[in-house]
Amino acid sequence: MHDLSFLAAGGILVSLILYALLGGADFGGGVWGLLGSGPRAGAQRLLIAHAIGPIWETNHIWVVIAVVILFTAFPPAFALISTALFVPVTLMLAGIVLRGAAFAFHSYHLHDEGGGMRRWGSVFACASLLTPVLLGVVIGAVSSGSLRAQSTAPLGASAAWLSPFPFSVGLLTLAVFSYLAGLVFLAATAALGAHVSLLLRSYPVARICAAAQAIVVLAGWGGAQYPFLVRPDLTIPAAASSHASLRLILIALAAGGVLLFPAIFLLFWVFKKEAVFGRSRKT
């Protein structure tokens, strides 16, 4: 039983890592969009939109999977986090909703001159700035040891997240996301430009290093949390749901993985090939 619960917790960690790697880049994209200025700002935003366009919608899968595992495999932890951290979690949710909507609306305006594009672009950028910070705040608060599980029902919203540590984790998350994004877009610029062969050679290395860095940070966090889900009251086995449920969740995850990973691979393969040939995306 314990083994199963650790496997499920590992599933949460893996999906968070994938979220940081794949989703992080498009969060960072919004931030870069905010920083872009001057006469070339429009072109820069267009580039960003094209670079993340085809894949950004899939990126939410990872956070959804993490939340669903937490909800089904570790109900007490889910209850504690979603009530004690009600404020940052709700704001993060709003950020995710706004980002998705703003990006979709923004891309309808891509070839307009008017204000529609700029307005949605700024909403997208601001939401991209806020959401990773809040994600980091939640992770920080969960690790800080200041969320206490009551023996009965959780008591309500806590202000424990309003302290320097969670916010420093939040800023770190933002920095990591932006860093990842920057490297992805460098590669995209190179691919879209003429000097493909020369530049492309070095970017994969840089990207792999950045990705490895993000993985190490998150895996390290997972190791430090072990064996807790929420420090210091909820350990992974103590918060786990029944054996039958855990087994079913893991079977579902494995089956889902068999479907999902080839599909994601295909997606990247298709769009990466396009970027290398420098063809613009068909709509």
């Binding site: 709700t90 959780p154 079913l248």
Partner: protein, 324 residues
């Protein structure tokens, strides 16, 4: 490849709808666990998923989704055809949307009958509220319209079809139907809202099924009939009904279960988060979705007005994909 991806999306949408409804069906008919001292034990997730209400609800909701999206899309093309009758793109699109939406709309009353008979057996309080049935009686009438008055314990101003309810709910004109009075007052859902929502759903469903059957009749004679203005106007009027009926249907099943969130296991009041000041996030998310909804509607309008406006070649006509 494109078609394959479309099929994948359609299947995925259907499957996720069916699974989401499983959760709702479980709240109506909890299964797959034993309750010991208020704690669920012997949890069997597969039995919970395959709860008794799942099949009827999932079929009903899936059909409802096709009917609602089919009619919504058909309405848009009908609107376009009213202005430009010869447009082949809109003619084809209207035919496809009516075929999908119309088939579902004709099947919905049949499926709804299964739902109602299941609810009559499984959740008699909900049925009583849906039908505005206060007294327990044999040969209960079917009420069309009317205003249930919980204080007086009667439903006024309804058109009553003698023995109709007993016949529909139990397939026996003399069957006994339990009224609300058979249950403690604090177990009642709000009969006014549940009855009204049920009437709205059935009214919309009847109108849509009628239009669908009429369309089939017209098309059988000549497909030219489908672009006659009176018919197009009827389709246009029915366009929002599916979405209205879906909302009404969810109102029936959710309000009809109150005061329980998980029937017989957990009350809604016990389930709510201990976090205070919920009015604020409620207002915030309502405003957010309202704003996003308006923007989406505006963009959709723009996309629709950009659609092909001249007779497109009969073969290779681009067909808009509809999704739930």
């Amino acid at each position: 490849m494109h078609l394959l991806a479309g099929i994948g999306v359609a299947l995925g949408g259907l499957l996720s709808g069916v699974l989401v409804v499983s959760a709702n069906a479980w709240m109506n008919s909890p299964a797959g666990f034993l309750l010991r001292d208020g704690i669920a034990t012997a949890v069997d997730p597969l039995a919970a998923m395959a709860n008794p209400a799942w099949a009827t609800e999932a079929v009903h909701m899936s059909l409802a989704a096709y009917a609602a999206s089919g009619f919504a899309v058909a309405g848009i093309h009908a609107y376009k055809l009213l202005r430009d009758r010869e447009n082949l793109f809109h003619r084809h699109a209207l035919a496809i949307a009516l075929t999908v939406g119309g088939t579902a709309a004709v099947l919905l009353p049949v499926s709804g009958d299964f739902n109602a008979r299941f609810v009559a057996k499984d959740q008699p309080v909900k049925l009583a509220a849906m039908e505005g049935q206060f007294r327990t009686e044999r040969g209960a009438p079917l009420r069309i319209g009317g205003i249930p008055d919980a204080a007086k314990g009667t439903t006024r101003f309804a058109i009553e079809i003698p023995r109709g309810l007993s016949l529909l709910a139990f397939h026996d004109p003399d069957a006994e139907v339990k009224g609300l009075e058979a249950f403690p007052r604090e177990e009642w859902p709000n009969p006014l809202l549940v009855h009204a929502a049920f009437q709205v759903m059935v009214a919309c469903g009847s109108a849509m099924a009628a239009v669908a059957l009429f369309a089939a009749l017209l098309a059988w004679k000549s497909s030219e009939n489908l672009v006659r203005p009176p018919f197009l106007l009827a389709v246009l009027c029915c366009s929002p009904l599916g979405i209205v009926a879906v909302e009404a249907g969810w109102t029936v099943t959710e309000l009809g279960r109150q005061p329980w969130v998980i029937r017989g296991v957990m009350r809604t009041a016990e389930a709510v988060t201990p976090v205070g000041g919920l009015a604020l996030p409620f207002a915030f998310f309502s405003a957010l979705y309202l704003a996003l909804g308006i923007s989406a509607a505006w963009l959709l309008r723009r996309e629709v007005s950009k659609s092909p406006s001249f007779p497109a070649p009969a073969d290779g006509t681009p067909v808009p994909e509809t999704e739930e």
